[in-house]
Each structure stands twice: as structure tokens, then as C-alpha cells.
Symmetry: C2
Subunit: 470 residues, 2 copies
């Protein structure tokens, strides 16, 4: 039944672009102004000051922690200080997970501490047992049920370094799917080589999920040198470890998406959406994940809003600092749900959530009638060293739920070569951001948002049937 309805809806969706539609255009005046904004942004340090302020004054801001509330207040105040015309919040409610303490030790003749961090969503508890090493998630998933009874599973998969972050797909699956696979094989605990590309004693956290039918077990990530160590020890002989986590779920919490707008000149009720997520993991100060994204988008909106009224773009620039991305796109999903009826008012969206490396590519999946306008945006981005591509990374995690139901989106791909050296670790701190690369990002988002907001015509935002999610 559901499938029949979906098929009918999809056929309707396919039919829509066939309607006659004027090409979307960006005029020369807008292009000239975009060029001015671009140079101004490159010389401006607003982005740096914003990320410095957030990471210093708020610091780590785990969703649901006391710092979450401080971050919300910070964002409201920062939007106002940056001259945003409207600032408001929209509630986002989610289950609250807390980390209190975590440790692990090799027992016996090679007794020593291991640096671990609990995976988000892990239960607390102390387990002790022999470690069984698997080179990959696949190998663990093939383990015979019961074969790990009383043991601790260790997936020692080494994530690939890549500019586009493609290594995080398989690396992240070790984190999301590993614990459930371990439980199915009978394990009492789970450890993994962090989904990261560095060589420091700083483990990478991140969410895991347990299949609903299973009883969760303590699950943690080892730093990469600790994973090396455990691999060597298990190769030498039977190795027992203890894993002690004090963490877990504790009720619900309501945070806020914090939204700032610079009102458009002629179509103030239509918006271009940019943003980042305000929450971070608790281990670092969330500089690259995602203080940078918040700063880039806040600074871009600020630069556009600082234009004289007559030079403002036609549409409104809406900047969203999303709540709780890390634990499951809670802010992005709440936004999509709340604004589902307004999809057509969303001209185009893009989120910055892949660090602070330079943007090297731009892509937007849009109907044919908008291709010229997209090419114009690409042309204005080219002096920043940004290549126009047909296919990109999508519009960032928090806008993906809204994109799934119809909002048109663009992607500004950042160089993520070093991103997974720092991602979700204590090392995600301000010193890892290059101010010049950050300014390049601000320039790109400024150009992008300005031109998209000033275009004559749209980029194809229209309601569609949501994708069926697993």
C-alpha cells in the first residue's frame, strides 16, 4: 500500500519539471556586487572572531549539557551583535546522553592503560575479558553467534585519508554497526580503532546505535596508537583488558535551533539558508566540528547584511545554528518538520560542516532551467580556487532532511584531508583552524548566498515525497 502511494507520488514528482519554466537568471549587477563581497570577505576576520569566541567562551558543548544552554545564549547574542535583523529560536527535543568517565587497561604481564573514549549512546559498565581482534567490521559480522561469549570484540579497521572524506563511510560504519555485531556474537564489550587518520593518543568519539532487539554493551574507541598496541599484544598472545565506562542516557532535553536573518530587499519571505551546527562533542572545543561552520555562515550573513539597504539581495539570508547534529541530526530534522509547508519559500540551502579547510568544489543539483544561474554562481566562486562540478557532497547533514523532502541544495566541498585527524577528538581546538582558509570559506558562502538570494527565478525547491529511511 505504501509502495503504491509512493510510486504515484514519484510519478507526479517526475512530471513537475516538464512544466514550462523561465530560466533562472543572475544579472551583471549582482555579479559585480558578488565580486566586491568576495574581496571584502577575504580581508575580513569576522569568521575567525566568531569561532574564537564560541570555542573559547563556551568551549565544548555536548548536546544536552549545561554548555548547550550557554551555546544557545551565545548564538543569540552573537547574531544580534553581528547586526542580524531577526533572531529567534526553535525548540529541539532529544534524549540526553552523558559521559562521566572512561578508562581501559591491559591486564596481566603487560599491564598498562589504554586511551579510550565511550561511543555516544553506549551504556556504562565495567567489563573484563579476553580481546578478540577482527581486521574489519565484515569479519566481525561473520563471527559465529556465541563465539565471543565473555569476550571483548576489537575491530581494528584502519580508515583511509582522503580530501573528500570518503574514508569515513566505512570507518563510521565500524562505529555505528560494530557494537550490534559484537553483541550478536556474544561479546560483553566492544572496542574499535578510532575512525580517524591521526597518530595521537586522542580517541575519536561519535554515535553508535544498537539494534533494538539487543541489550547494549559498553562500547568505546581506542586512539590509533592504542589500537596499534592492542593489535601487537593480541598477536603476541591472549590479552585481557578491562573497560570501564560511566556514561549513558538520562531523560530528555530541549535545546534550540538558533536562527538569524538578514531581511531581503524585495522578497523578504523567501530565504536562502546557510548554517552549521552549534553543538559539539565534549572532548574538544568543537572548532572544526562545527564552530567553523557556524562562524562561516554567521560571517557570510553579516557581510551581506552590512550592505546598504538598496544593495541587499532580493531574498532574505537565513543562518541556522542547528541543535544536536552529533547525536542524530535532531536540529535538522526538527527544522525540516517545522518548515515542511514552506519548502518553496526556501530558494536554496547549503550547510558548512566539514571543518575549516579550503573549499575546492561547488555543485548544485537543480532543474535545467536553473543551470545558467548555477553556472554564474560557479563563475563568481572560481577566483577562490573553487571548481564547478556536476555532482557534489549534498547540502550538509542538517539540511539533508529538508533536502529529502524537496528543498534545493548546493554543496561547497571543503578540503577534508586533515579533518579526520581531529574530528570528534580532544584535538578539535581553535589552533587547528587556518584563518586564511576560514576567510576563503566565508568568501565562498557570502558569494553563494548573495547570488542565490538575488537570482531572478528559483532553483527547484518543491515538496516531494520523503525518501523512505531505514
Amino acid at each position: 500500500m505504501r509502495r503504491t502511494l509512493l510510486a504515484a507520488a514519484l510519478s507526479l514528482l517526475v512530471a513537475l519539471p516538464l512544466q514550462a519554466q523561465q530560466p533562472t537568471r543572475i544579472d551583471d549587477t549582482a555579479m559585480a556586487q558578488a565580486a566586491t563581497l568576495r574581496e571584502r570577505a577575504l580581508a575580513d576576520d569576522t569568521g575567525w572572531k566568531v569561532v574564537e569566541s564560541l570555542t573559547t567562551e563556551v568551549g565544548p558543548r555536548l548536546a544536552g549539557s549545561e554548555a548547550d544552554a550557554r551555546a544557545v545564549e551565545w548564538a543569540k547574542a552573537k547574531f544580534k551583535a553581528l547586526g542580524y535583523d531577526k533572531v529567534w529560536t526553535e525548540p529541539v527535543t532529544f534524549p540526553k546522553w552523558e559521559r562521566r568517565s572512561e578508562s581501559a587497561r591491559v591486564l596481566g604481564a603487560s599491564a598498562q592503560a589504554l586511551h579510550v573514549t565511550a561511543l555516544g549512546g553506549s551504556p556504562g559498565g565495567r567489563v573484563e575479558g579476553e580481546v578478540v581482534r577482527f581486521a574489519s567490521l565484515d569479519d566481525l559480522q561473520k563471527a559465529v553467534p556465541g563465539s565471543l561469549a565473555g569476550k571483548i570484540a576489537f575491530v581494528d579497521y584502519r580508515m583511509e585519508r582522503a580530501r573528500d572524506g570518503r574514508g569515513y563511510g566505512p570507518g563510521g560504519r565500524v562505529r555505528s554497526a560494530g557494537p550490534s555485531a559484537a553483541i550478536k556474537a556474544g561479546a560483553i564489550g566492544y572496542v574499535m580503532r578510532s575512525a580517524g587518520t591521526d597518530s595521537h593518543r586522542n580517541p575519536h568519539t561519535g554515535m553508535t546505535r544498537f539494534d533494538e532487539s539487543l541489550t547494549p554493551i559498553p562500547s568505546a574507541a581506542l586512539s590509533l596508537p592504542d589500537a596499534d598496541q592492542l593489535a601487537r599484544l593480541t598477536a603476541l598472545g591472549a590479552t585481557r583488558i578491562s573497560l570501564q565506562l560511566d556514561c549513558g542516557w538520562d531523560g530528555e532535553y530541549t535545546s534550540q535551533n538558533v536562527i538569524g536573518e538578514m531581511t531581503g530587499r524585495t522578497k523578504p519571505h523567501e530565504v536562502v539558508v546557510i548554517g552549521g551546527h552549534l553543538d559539539s562533542w565534549d572532548l574538544g572545543t568543537g572548532a572544526i566540528d562545527d564552530g567553523a561552520g557556524v562562524a562561516i555562515s554567521m560571517a557570510a550573513g553579516h557581510l551581506i547584511g552590512a550592505l546598504p539597504q538598496a544593495k541587499r539581495p532580493a531574498r532574505t539570508i537565513r543562518v541556522i545554528a542547528f541543535a544536536n547534529e552529533e547525536q542524530g541530526l535532531w536540529g535538522g530534522r526538527a527544522y525540516a518538520q517545522k518548515h515542511a509547508a514552506d519548502i518553496r519559500k526556501h530558494q536554496l540551502g547549503a550547510e558548512s560542516d566539514f571543518g575549516a579547510g579550503r573549499i575546492y568544489a561547488f555543485a548544485a543539483k537543480t532543474p535545467d532551467y536553473a543551470k545558467d544561474a548555477v553556472a554564474k554562481i560557479a563563475q563568481a566562486l572560481a577566483p577562490l580556487g573553487i571548481e564547478h562540478r556536476e555532482d557534489g557532497d549534498g547540502c550538509g547533514p542538517d539540511l539533508s532532511p529538508f533536502n529529502a523532502i524537496g528543498m534545493a541544495c548546493a554543496g561547497l566541498s571543503q578540503d577534508g584531508t586533515d579533518y579526520f585527524d581531529l574530528h570528534h577528538t580532544p584535538d578539535d581546538t581553535l589552533d587547528k583552524i587556518d584563518p586564511k582558509a576560514l576567510a576563503q570559506n566565508v568568501a565562498a558562502y557570502t558569494v553563494f548566498a548573495f547570488l542565490a538570494a538575488d537570482a531572478d527565478g528559483d532553483f527547484g525547491s518543491a515538496p516531494k515525497v520523503p525518501e523512505v529511511r531505514k
Copy 2:
């Protein structure tokens, strides 16, 4: 009185080299054999296997900890497994310092954790107070007595990166002298920017000393990003932190210098001494500090000992794995004390304790009659990319007490450009060692020890009045 005696002794000392002395010589056969050993060492992985074994199977080995005893057993067994002719231990007794836990937090509106580690020798305790930042030790030392009453002193000195590690002089003084300066100004606690050159959330530990008349205060090092953070916060306004250390002195412990010998062919009672220190700080696994030095010297002795009896050098190769270097050269001082009467039997000494970077320079301070032999050793080292210098780094910390009372010493200078990224941090782990650079070190020590041991004549070891130590 003491000065008069010393002057008399020194005039005697100056007189000694004036006696007629045959030049020390190294013959062509020895040079040819050194060349063979050099190439053999470059292709050999004994050094790598030794440091892998020590850092993996023993792991961190803080002097006085249960792992100290395991390290001693490991060293005895490893010497035997490597074919050393004689293996023994010599006791080294020292006060035992323990680290149990450590934490720090910014309090108030920017509440967040700071990554700290207690300085060795610090007392435990919890202090809470406003932070007063000083850009240098000098600035703190100028603080008016009583001006820091109830406050926590923070020295934010940034150590210089250099190949020869010269930045550690001023950087290390912030650690050794800072706490006492803070106490004199009335402070209740002391924190410092780690004496390091990295940008990771891994603070650098190391010993501090309190002036005897003072009551020690909790003293810790911040990781470099945490020092950045605290500097920014104090610049924004009054900043209070809490510092909680559970650590301190706990009685005495007796560890062992572990010694292995490859017996010389014709002068077995004369020795060339090489070595490293067996203890490490507890945060890392002591790979570069100083598993590498132990491995380099053990492997060098092994390669020389593996020669057919007829090709062995004239003198014995003595390899020492020193106890407790980190907390005050306890092993080195014990060795000097025990063997003071045998200085002339020590042909020449060199310790490896500056990581695992390539050796780039060789120097030996010797009498004129030994210059030709030193030049021959330099000539045999040159193909390894090692330059002959007149002045070097001395013979390493653990041999410096023996050198002070007369043993001739040589220095093989390692490239320490990255050494203080890792030194005394959790990041001092095996993955930081380049196996090829390690093999170059082994080759250099093999060549050096072989030629020094086979030389006809000596390098000037003779008792002298100990230097007056502060």
C-alpha cells in the same frame, strides 16, 4: 677552603696531559671491519624489534612503579636473548613518586575541562583560584612577594623548536624553577604551558623541584592548546580554575641498572660504555624517551658481539640500561659512584637519549693524542650522513655524572626537531619511530663502539675532581 683545594686539584689535572703519551691509533683492519658492521647494521632490524618489544610488552615504566620491576626483568632477558656474554644488575635507590589522577577545570561562565598533567615531584591537593598569567618565568620571578596570595600562577612561555633541542633549556626551567617562584609570590597553585612544541591536547610532564625552604604547591603542565585557551580566557577577564592532583612521594624504591657485556678479545677488563635509560614517564610508552636509546645500544652491542671471536674488538662493549633517569639521573649517579675507582678502565662512553631521529653530528672531547683516532671514527661515521664537530652535546644525561669525574665521552647528536612534540607526553609511542632512522642510529653506535673498543691507546679517561654542582 673548598675553593683552595679545588684549585690545587685542577692545577694537577691540567698538568696531566702534559705527560708524554703515544697517539691513540685505529688501524685499517678495524676501519674495514667497521665499514662492514655499518652496512650490516643498516640492514638489520634488531633495534626496531627491541624497542617494539619494550614499549609493547612492558609499556609505560615509571621509575618505582610495578612496571619498573617488569622492565628490569625484560632487560635482563633481552640482553640474554641477544647473546650478551655477561648480564647483571646494580641497585639504584631513590624516593618514589606516584601519579594517581589529575584534572583541571575553568570555572564560571566559560566552564570547561583543561588537559593537565602533574609535574613530577608535585604534591597532591585541590586548589581553586584566579589565574594570573605571566609571559615568562622571568616575569613570574619578578612578582612581588604576596602578590599572588590565593591565586594560581600561569607561565605561558612558548618553547622554541630546534634540531639540537636548545629550546629545552629555557622551556625546562619554566618547569623546574616556576613552582618555587610561584610560591615565593604567594601562589596556591602553579600551571605552565608545557615545555613542548606540538599542538595536541597532550600535556608534557617532567620533574620539578621545590626550593627546600618552601612548602610545595600543586604544580601542573597544560597541553599547548589548553595554554592557548587559558591565555585567551585570562585576556577576556578574571578567570578562575580548579586544579586537582592526586600524586606525591611515597617512600623509597630500589630499582636496577641492567648491564650487558660483550667481552673484548684482548683487553676484556677495559670497556666502551653505551646505553640508554630503561625508565620512562608514565604517560606514554617511552618509545623515543628512551626505549630508542636502550634499543640502539642493545642492538649495537649485539651486532658487535655477533662477530666471530677473532674479529671482536680488543675491549669489552658494556651496554647499560639505566634506572630512573627521569627523576634525577639516579641510575647514572649510582653508576658513577659505584665505578669511580675504575674510571681509567672506561675507554670512552656515549649514551643515546634524545629520541630516534637520525644522527647528524659526532663529537668527542679528548686529549690531543687521541685526535687522530677520533678523526678515524668520524671518517667511519661519515657515510651515515654524520658530520664531525669539535663541540657536541656531551655524552648523554646518564653518563654525565661519570664524565664529570673523568670518563672520556663522545656525543652522537640526533635530530631532535620533532622530539619535543612527543617528549614526556602520552604520544611517546612506537609509531613515532622511523625504523630506517633507528637503523642509522644503530649503525652509528655500532661503528663508534667497535672502533673505540679496538683503538690502540685511550681517549683520556682519568679521575678528576668532580665539578661543584649547584
